[in-house]
């Protein structure tokens, strides 16, 4: 009942916004519904007991609850930001910052409606325990987020939208084929063969046909991997993240990727139960290393800082895959890292949104002396950057360390060395780009006109407060992990055959 309302309320609210066509009404719906969603998720935590026999369609298990909470928190904080953002941008004609033409934004009601649909579909991904339903939900997230990317109505964002829609849809179609392969792997077991529900699959896991199941896993890895943005499949990300409004990029990176990762974890769980865990783990590791490598190559000398954040997402998804791939405490570290990454990346994208708004540029060379012009955002931008590269007091440091420890524990010293080296390169590259943005003095003549034009501008509360909450959360996670979180990480690690 609680779960159904989590899915239905945002969907109905979204429908209401689309039908009402009223911008101001929709704007107020957004924080309201996401706050309600968050409260309901808290209720889920209160009443939660790990089910011994999971239901067939919709239910909560450890992994589902964790990813649901991450989605809900990210969405709640972003929605406050979005409230102010939409009010400021509105429907007025805006001048494009790169080519100087004028464009409009999509209507507020449509935008908010799609945001709420997006929330509803992401919730569905996290609570479904049936591989077919997971697929339907993941595809629905693609469809509901497509109009969000086309918020600024001009040709570059349209191109990014087309890329996103086509690449993700094709990828997800392969995951569908993967699901069918799972069914074929289970034909002939029992009277009707197995269903795609996790319950039925885990009951008969040892009898599944290994050849078909392996092929299914590869297809799902490619399919959901496109959505997650593992390296050879990440091609839609840079364009999409830099052209979409910052809060949409934040949601795509902080919440959606986590959801797609959950879909992959479900299949990995089946593989583990079927005794094929070694195969899926080695595939995870290969993709993880390739993603880290690609990210390291492209982050160095990246001049567009939103694209830099996009590649940093590729990097962190690689780290998650490595953690799951190594297994053992690595899974624990991986889940912890997922939480940290979602918070930090959302913080960074929202801060980037503030910067883009006041400088009208995404090139890091144009942005100098942030600390003088946007003091609050500058501090948050530095905190976020330090957290994302994994500097000690933050949670990311701990989770990356946990993954490193699990590699050493498993005797994979070569992997650990590569991991440390690539993280080091990314650390250097991000710092080299972020610190000059914040601290170097404005030199009116040498850089560009944009830098000198900026005067200290005001930073409204909505654009800073949600960011502080996230920064504080990442910082606290570095010192203290609440027992309910560590319990749930532990539960997930056990269900995936680690620990």
């Amino acid at each position: 009942m609680l779960l159904w309302s989590l899915i239905v309320i945002p969907a109905l609210a979204g429908l209401f916004c689309l039908l009402s066509r009223s911008g101001s009404l929709s704007r107020f719906m957004l924080p309201l519904v996401s706050a309600l969603h968050f409260i309901l998720v808290v209720c889920c935590w209160m009443t939660y007991t790990c089910p011994s026999v999971p239901p067939e369609w919709i239910g909560l298990d450890d992994a589902g609850l964790l990813f649901l909470s991450v989605t809900s928190v990210t969405f709640l904080l972003t929605s406050f930001y979005a409230f102010g953002y939409i009010r400021r941008e509105g429907r007025a004609q805006t001048m494009d910052m790169e080519e100087g033409f004028f464009f409009k934004n999509s209507p507020d009601a449509v935008f908010v409606g799609c945001l709420l649909f997006f929330l509803s579909t992401m919730t569905l991904v996290t609570v479904s325990l049936h591989l077919g339903l997971v697929w339907v939900a993941v595809e629905a997230t693609t469809l509901s987020s497509t109009p969000l990317i086309y918020y600024h109505r001009h040709h570059r964002s349209l191109e990014a939208t087309w890329k996103y829609l086509l690449i993700c849809s094709v990828g997800i179609a392969l995951a569908m084929l993967g699901n069918f392969f799972v069914v074929v792997a289970g034909t002939g077991i029992g009277e009707h063969g197995v269903h795609l529900s996790l319950l039925s699959l885990s009951e008969h896991a040892d009898k599944l046909n290994p050849a078909w199941l392996k092929a299914a896993f590869v297809l799902c890895l490619v399919g959901y991997g496109t959505k997650i943005g593992f390296s050879p499949l990440h091609t839609w990300m840079p364009a999409t993240y830099s052209e979409a409004p910052s809060m949409v990029a934040a949601l795509l990176s902080g919440a959606l990727k986590a959801c797609a990762f959950l879909a992959l974890l479900r299949i990995h769980q089946v593989m583990t139960l079927a005794g094929l865990g070694a195969t899926s783990r080695s595939l995870f590791m290969v993709l993880g290393v390739v993603s880290l490598f690609t990210a390291a190559v492209f982050i160095v000398r990246q001049t567009d800082f939103k694209k830099m954040l996009a590649f940093s997402s590729v990097e962190h998804m690689g780290i998650l895959a490595l953690g799951v791939g190594v297994g053992g405490t690595g899974i624990f570290g991986s889940m912890f890292h997922m939480v940290n990454h979602s918070l930090t990346k959302t913080l960074l994208f929202l801060a980037a949104g503030n910067i883009v708004h006041s400088y009208r540029s995404r090139t890091d060379l144009d942005i100098r002396g942030l600390i003088y012009s946007l003091p609050k955002t500058a501090v948050l931008w530095i905190i976020g950057a330090l957290a994302i590269v994994g500097v000690p007091p933050f949670g990311t440091f701990l989770s990356e360390l946990t993954i490193l420890k699990s590699m050493v524990h498993a005797g994979r010293f070569g992997l650990a060395a590569v991991y440390l080296f690539l993280l080091g390169v990314i650390f250097a590259a991000i710092s080299a780009s972020v610190f000059p943005m914040v601290f170097s003095k404005r030199t009116g003549d040498s850089c560009s006109a944009a830098a000198s034009a900026v005067t200290p501008s005001e930073e409204p509360l909505w654009s800073v407060l949600p960011l502080w909450v996230m920064a504080a959360a990442v910082l606290v996670l570095g010192f203290y992990m609440p027992p309910f979180l560590s319990d749930i990480f532990h539960g997930i690690a056990v269900s995936l055959g680690g620990l």
């Binding site: 849809s169 094709v170 084929l177």
Partner: protein, 211 residues
């Protein structure tokens, strides 16, 4: 009954070759629609011994969506963009035909390693559905026009759907319907996007999207 099934599978393979070798967008749309019909026939034929209401309903909905509604939508979009044919694709038509032959060989090779546990199914069925999927992927890569890429996506979906209906029939109804719905909405949104693209750019060549 098996010879009819073999015939349908052969038609499916032929339709893929036609799709690869056609430059007229309207013909492409028609071929994809015919493919959806052939697939439904295959689904019915391969379950003749145990035909139930569910399957029939599913097939009717599929035909209605994939062979009637979606082609109509795509036709309107194509007419709206004013483009009649794909003149300079990335991979030329004769080369595409050869690539199609290669893909067919690849599908046979792949299905050699995977044994289908369902008896009573044509042994050409698995390669044929794999071939349809590969053809769709190939078209997405080898063509420039946004409309043709959508056609590739639909062909690919057709292949996957064929595989699903014939082998994975035990899945609950609701999942299959939602899958159909997702695909339907996806193609609709793609249609809207193409409309915006042609409006914004005066053409629908995806390689020149960033002017």
């Amino acid at each position: 009954m098996n010879e009819w099934l073999d015939l349908a599978v052969a038609l499916l393979i032929l339709s893929n070759f036609m799709l690869v070798n056609t430059s007229r967008l309207m013909s492409c749309i028609r071929i994809v629609a015919i493919q959806a019909v052939i697939l439904s026939v295959i689904a019915l034929l391969s379950h003749l011994h145990a035909l139930d209401v569910r399957l029939v309903v599913l097939v009717i909905i599929t035909v209605a969506l994939k062979a009637l509604v979606l082609p109509q939508v795509l036709k309107r979009v194509t007419v709206g963009t004013g483009v009649e044919r794909e003149l300079s694709p990335f991979v030329g038509y004769s080369l595409s035909l050869m690539a199609g032959g290669g893909l067919l060989a690849l599908s046979f090779l792949m299905s050699h390693f995977l044994t289908v546990p369902e008896p009573g199914l044509s042994r050409f069925f698995l390669p044929a559905s794999l071939f349809t999927i590969f053809t769709g992927l190939f078209i997405i890569i080898a063509r420039k026009k946004a409309v043709t890429q959508v056609m590739g996506y639909m062909a690919m979906e057709n292949g996957i759907y064929a595989f699903g209906v014939s082998l994975a029939i035990h899945e609950p109804f609701i999942v299959e319907i939602s899958v159909l719905l997702d695909v339907f909405v996806a193609v609709l949104i793609m249609g809207v996007a193409i409309f915006h693209i042609s409006h914004e750019f005066d053409h629908i060549d995806t390689d020149q999207l960033s002017v």
